[in-house]
Amino acid sequence: MTDPAPSTFSSPEAIKRLKRRRAADVRFRYYGMGAIVLALGALVMLALSIGSQAVSAATYHVARYDVTLDRAVIAPPGEDTPEEISRNVDGFWSLVRNNLLETFPEADLDRASRTEASEFITRLAVLPAARKVAAEPQLIGNEMTVSAPLNDDLDLYLKGQAFPERRVRVGSLSSASQQEAGLARLEGQGAFTPILSAITSLEADGADLSEGSVLLTAGSSTGRLSDLQPDAASLELLTGTLDDFRSGNATARIIALPEAQRVVSDQQIAWTLALKEMGRISREPRWSLLTNSDSTYPELAGGLAALVGSLFTMLVTALVAIPIGILAAVYLEEFAPKNRLTDFIEVNINNLAAVPSIVFGLLGAAVYLNFLGMPRSAPLVGGLVLALMTFPVVIIASRAALKAVPPSVRSGALAIGASQMQTVFHHVVPLAAPGIFTGAILGMARALGETAPLLLIGMVAFVGDVPKGPTDESTVMPVLIFTWSNNAERAWEPMTSAMIVILLAVLLLMNGLVVFLRRKYERRW
């Protein structure tokens, strides 16, 4: 260059270069934002799909039955101790069923109808009432309202999730007259036109209504419509009286799905609607998810046993993994000489953290169950297996936290004559504590969500009772989710989601604890 150095700030090459650099800058920023949007989107989708399912399981329908506690039925002579009363499911159930049959006399006419009525309430659903009476024997002989969850299929039907159904308002009816063979004739100027046009539009959408049902409800009465014409139709009364159709507004329900393929029959729908009309069915929050144990009936199932089982398992895991992990980390980081052996140990601890969790399950089954003969399906064994899996995580996190403590703290303590152990336990560990506990809790959170190793040690068994200690048979939340998700009935689907939400809430709580601990104890130095 012969010129006296042209300013590098204004030469065209420099400006071009600068532009390129700026563009790269901006590009990178957009990539980053894109990544975050993607991640957030995935999270939102997960939350929406699980949340929307879980919301429907958060409430359920409870029916009330006003019964007289007949001593002869619930506490016959010879079976009248409180314990026997509390177990007398059949007696209470028959009271409730009889109440149902009294409400709907038509159900008592034939065996098939009685069976259909019986499906309204699961036998075991009367257990709380039985326990209550057993606890307060003076109630016997008096009136009592028994509340019991509605059968899960009817519950789903009421929530509108069982099958598609089209509701249409019917025009006013001018006459309703009883005909032969249980059929009634309903007439009204253009009363049934809305139904016909709805059917037409449904059929236009490709629905096959040939075997479907059209139910007409007025007040607490419901009947099945047939022979539909714009001005008249035949009605097969399923429950209630014709009078209701004469006086009130009627609503038609068009169900395309053939009755034979449904879990809910037309008759059951009629009774359900009648009970609802009578104000005997209400939608309530489903606390039983947290207070009940597992059951084969979804309307009775809850996660209490699994929650307690998880608690015991985590307790065992924490008691084993955290102290061992922290002490191992402190020894390796602060005391152990740096040589080939400690290098080897370090590498293997890192490897241990990467071992698939199911391998720990196999190990646990082989060592704890077969070799040491510990009880199957017990939180003790589950906790020990999860501890094996957690403690490398605790070691790695604790070592990182110990490494982050500035050496000046160590030399400061050593220089005033503290021994190495005093230095470590008075100064280094307290400073590393937030990091150590963060690692420990994150490790525990991972263990809490672990399913695979527990399957192998038998924690997948059905457990109806809340475990009372770490050696009792038990299951844990993720395994319960896994079990429920395998069940066939439709009602399990929202239940599974609800359980997932509960598990996530527990995990969030643990992570919240981490954040809290960090904020509270994190110190600057």
């Binding site: 030399s411 400061g412 220089a415 005033i416 004559g417 503290a418 600057r524």
Partner: protein, 275 residues
């Protein structure tokens, strides 16, 4: 090499800070110290003694071994695995470099202050009280209170912190933190205080405070200070040792070292001609 330089003859004027220099036996007497880090030798055959009730400064360019040498005096080099120290370090006639001497006890007699103020993340009170507690120097709570107050007073910090002894030590300013560290070292009643560049992280005013404190402490302790500021060595010390490449080049009265060094290398270093 001349390592022990007796005070100058009468008639020469020494500033008042220097006339307390005793002719008594040195507090620490190092003989033929060699320090190795693995295969590399960091200190070569250094013999050096430190008088009681005086400040001795170790100066020299970075990496000259002055800090390494200082850390020999309280065996802080023990914590470095690859480090090996040969030679005798005599204190009260005992070779403290001998492994029969417990380094933990030694460090209660030879306190140390570091380059970066490193108060414990505890309260001011606990920072001071920690040493006396672990050494069992206080028999009661009152005793401990008294030790804390005395140490803070000696470190010239009492007036500034007496109303907030429970505040965290890290809430103090840098200079105050360093004085807290000095108080912490004093609290275990050491005989020797080692200072490893105690002012390099401080501003000039805080530095001046520490220097004044060092001058005050000189009346009770044997102080050895490593500093890479020649000016600081000139200000605070009575005797100065100049290190270069792991060798002790010259040791003498600070006044003499800075006005009339005997060795060419010392002269080059203090006049900024180092090549």
């Amino acid at each position: 090499m001349d390592t022990d330089h007796t005070p100058q003859a009468a008639g020469t004027v020494t500033p008042p800070t220097a006339d307390a220099l005793p002719a008594a036996a040195p507090r620490i007497d190092c003989r033929d110290i060699n320090v190795f880090y693995g295969p590399t030798q960091a200190i070569h055959n250094v013999s050096l003694s430190f008088p009681d009730r005086a400040v001795t400064a170790l100066i020299g360019p970075s990496g000259c071994g002055k800090s390494t040498f200082l850390r020999c005096l309280n065996r802080m080099n023990d914590t470095i695995e690859s480090c090996r120290v040969d030679g005798q370090i005599l204190m009260d006639g005992q070779n403290i470099n001998d492994h029969s001497i417990d380094a933990v006890l030694l460090r209660s007699r030879v306190g140390m202050v570091f380059q970066k103020p490193n108060p414990f993340p505890k309260s001011i009170f606990d920072n001071i009280a920690y040493g006396p507690r672990i050494h069992g120097l206080a028999s009661s709570r009152e005793d401990l209170d008294a030790i804390v107050e005395k140490s803070l007073r000696r470190a010239g910090l009492w007036e500034e912190v007496k109303d907030r002894l429970q505040a965290p030590g890290t809430s103090l300013s840098g200079g105050q933190q360093q004085r807290l560290c000095i108080a912490r070292a004093i609290a275990v009643r050491p005989e020797v205080i080692l200072m490893d560049e105690p002012c390099s992280a401080l501003d000039p005013v805080a530095t001046a405070r520490i220097e004044e404190l060092i001058d005050e402490l000189r009346k009770r302790y044997c102080i050895v200070i490593v500093t890479h500021s020649m000016q600081q060595a000139a200000r605070v010390s009575q005797r100065t040792a100049f290190f270069h490449l792991g060798n002790l080049i010259e040791m003498g009265e600070t006044e003499q070292i800075f006005t009339n060094p005997r060795e060419k290398r010392t002269e080059d270093y203090i006049t900024g001609r180092f090549g």
